[in-house]
């Protein structure tokens, strides 16, 4: 979290309200006086879309706004580029207060900063795929010769090279949304607004698209505001998640914070059904790697360390930097000691040693930890931690209990 604090704020939403109906300001006052959405609807026929929402989106970050239908998430995203007029509050994008812009300024901002992707794709059926992708640049008055290569490239980025001449009607749902994504990317916006972008796709294609967006995000480094009603999607896509209910924000946090420290009953009910193993990664469940044996240790030293810790095997590392060399079992150490060997490096086996990277999902580690413990290493091969079967289960049950409080 300290890391994100240093980053530049791309979108700042301050005390945002959106109320539908006549004289919506009345509802804002009522909300400030603690009235609920339902009370206001009964009393004044005003529908509250968003109530007092405040959060920041940092540059390059993916923030997922999550909630059930009617929670105001779609309204919120539409306020950001003012497809809907906010009733009160501020939205600041790169130091510009969007809420005060005139039509001309708003148009410029939309052209420059935002690319939007829609739930039902919203492709123009009378335009070819390429013409759809070109739309943003076309209305900015960019020459066809100049915009075409850019748009071909955008199509290539989403894996639709060669489909430019087709019409949207010829494409499958997944392909249509790729076009939608390419259309948004073609204008090279700073910010992608994705309104339930993958919700209309069937599960397999959806997973593919999620993976591709994550990969794409690494390549192009966009700030993404992503709307979804699906918690699994939110946990997967979001650097941080903004959870909404009845127009108000219930909790803001990283996927893990949401899962392990739900702010209230509503959130815990939400996260109850989540398969926690999907979100936890190796570094969340690993134990401190101690004791370890060093390469220079003799077999007797290694055996003693195992005995003290009650282990039948031990990881062997280089003493200088803790680079993992391999795993040594007690049997083999005992054999070596009987033969009078001075070192253990020649009996240390790298093959028997299962290693995983820090960000490996716990789900895929389950099968590996049935026998020997698993070593968790960073990119340089430095031993960072150890996962034994017990620690996985312990971590799961511990967090599961917390989540159910």
């Amino acid at each position: 979290m300290e890391q994100t604090q240093e980053r530049k704020v791309k979108i700042r939403i301050e005390n945002l309200y959106k109320v539908f109906g006549r004289n919506p300001q009345r509802a804002v006052e009522m909300l400030k006086n603690g009235k609920t959405k339902d009370e206001i609807l009964k009393k004044s026929k005003l529908a509250v879309g968003v109530a007092d929402a405040s959060f920041d989106v940092y540059e390059g970050e993916t923030v997922v706004v999550m909630g059930l239908s009617g929670s105001g998430k779609s309204t919120l995203i539409r306020c950001v580029n003012r497809l809907m007029e906010p009733t009160a509050g501020k939205i600041i994008v790169d130091d510009i207060d969007v809420t005060t812009l005139d039509q001309d300024g708003l148009r410029k901002l939309r052209r420059k900063k935002f690319g939007m992707v829609f739930q039902s794709f919203a492709l123009f059926p009378h335009k070819t795929v390429l013409e759809n992708v070109e739309f943003g640049l076309e209305i900015q008055g960019v020459d066809p010769e100049e915009r075409r290569p850019k748009c071909e490239e955008a199509l290539q980025q989403v894996g639709l090279k060669g489909w430019g001449e087709y019409y949207p009607a010829n494409l499958s749902g997944g392909m249509k949304q790729r076009v939608g994504l390419a259309r948004a990317l073609a204008v090279d916006p700073d910010i992608l607004l994705m309104d339930e972008a993958f919700s209309a796709l069937d599960p397999l294609i959806r997973t593919d698209m999620q993976d591709e967006l994550i990969a794409l995000e690494e390549r192009v480094q966009k700030t993404i505001l992503f709307i979804t009603h699906d918690l699994d999607e939110a946990l997967k896509m979001g650097d941080r998640i903004v959870l909404m209910k009845d127009g108000a924000i219930v909790q803001i946090g990283t996927p893990e914070e949401i899962l392990t420290r739900p702010a209230d009953d509503y959130v815990s009910k939400f996260v109850e059904n989540v398969d926690i193993t999907k979100v936890l990664v190796a570094s969340d469940v690993m134990k401190k790697p101690s004791p370890v044996a060093f390469v220079k240790d003799g077999p007797r030293t290694a055996l003693r360390k195992m005995k003290e810790a009650g282990m039948s095997g031990i990881f062997v590392v280089r003493a200088s930097n803790w680079e993992l060399v391999g795993h040594l079992t007690a049997e083999r150490a005992a054999d070596a000691a009987r033969h009078g060997d001075k070192w253990i490096d020649h009996i240390t086996s790298a093959d028997e040693c299962a290693t995983v990277p820090m960000d490996q999902p716990v789900r895929s580690i389950f099968a590996m930890v049935s026998g020997n413990p698993v070593a968790v290493v960073d990119e340089a091969g430095i031993l960072k931690g150890v996962i034994v079967r017990g620690s996985v289960i312990a971590a799961l049950s511990e967090r599961g209990e917390e989540a159910n409080v």
């Binding site: 901002l109 939007m116 919203a122 009378h126 943003g136 076309e138 087709y166 010829n170």
Partner: protein, 283 residues
């Protein structure tokens, strides 16, 4: 008991008409000039062509826009009309329909677009359109005479009034029923109002707009026949003459010719819509 005097509605309307006739004289003269020019131009232009050539041209258009079946039917139908000796009246009927439709579209399309974009205007214009469509068609013949006198111009005027509502209504509807996300997509990319209209709203509304124009053409044709009573001439004139002289045979001949023209116009204009609505891949 007192007697409630009858409201002098008829007198009021008469008075209004007298005043209008004088007040909008320049406008009516311009309208008359335009209509005469259009009708004469079309009748003379088409009349100069040998009938067979014209039939083949219409057949080709039908083939291009609709299908081979429609093309064959068109040529056969026109041959039949020519054989009945109704070629001349047919041309003047077609000319009147084309001119009236052109004026209807010219006025109706902008009104329809405006009504599609502005809800208050739509609310204001809808009852007027309802009135225009439910009023018996004959009623429009009456004001046409003081404005333009007897003849094709008066007929064109009555025809425009009668046939314009679908153009306005369906253009408005076409724009209104566009998926909200499409409009949002357009806005989100920063279109101007004009760009949104030209690049998104009109193309998406086109099938509905074309359906409206098709209806306008069909209503024009039916009104042109009725307008024979005020001297429209053409096929309607033939029917009207047959009625006055109780010549059933002649009436049926002219009536059949009208049906054939109606079907040709309908099939061709209907298919403009279908062609545009298709999403075929460009190969």
């Amino acid at each position: 008991m007192f007697e409630i005097p009858k409201m002098p509605l008829a007198a009021w309307v008469d008075g209004l008409l007298d005043w209008l006739t004088a007040a909008i004289a320049p406008l009516t003269r311009a309208f008359a000039g335009f209509v005469r020019l259009g009708i004469d131009g079309i009748v003379n232009g088409l009349g100069a062509l040998p009938p067979v050539v014209l039939m083949l041209i219409i057949g080709a258009i039908a083939w291009w826009i609709a299908s081979r079946k429609v093309a064959i039917f068109s040529v056969a139908g026109l041959l039949f009309i020519w054989n009945l000796g109704l070629w001349g009246p047919t041309l003047s009927t077609i000319a009147l329909v084309l001119v009236a439709t052109f004026i209807s579209i010219l006025i109706g399309l902008p009104l329809g677009i405006f009504s599609g974009l502005s809800l208050p205007f739509n609310r204001a214009v809808t009852p007027v359109l309802d009135l225009m469509q439910t009023m018996p068609a004959f009623v429009y013949l009456i004001p046409a005479i003081p404005f333009f006198g007897l003849g094709p111009v008066a007929a064109a005027f009555a025809t425009v009034i009668f046939s314009i509502p679908p153009s306005i209504r369906l253009t408005s509807l076409g724009i209104r029923q566009i998926d909200r996300e499409m409009i949002e997509a357009s806005d989100a990319f920063g279109t101007t109002t004009m760009q949104k209209l030209v690049k998104v709203q009109l193309p998406l509304a086109l099938p509905t707009i074309m359906a409206g124009i098709n209806q306008t053409i069909m209503l024009s044709l039916s009104m042109v026949v009725i307008a024979a009573m005020i001297g429209a001439g053409g096929l309607g004139g033939e029917v009207w003459r047959a009625i006055q002289r109780l010549r059933a045979g002649q009436g049926v001949e002219a009536g059949l010719a009208i049906v054939i023209i109606a079907m040709i116009l309908d099939r061709i204009t209907q298919n403009i819509t279908v062609k545009k609505g298709e999403g075929k891949a460009k190969e």
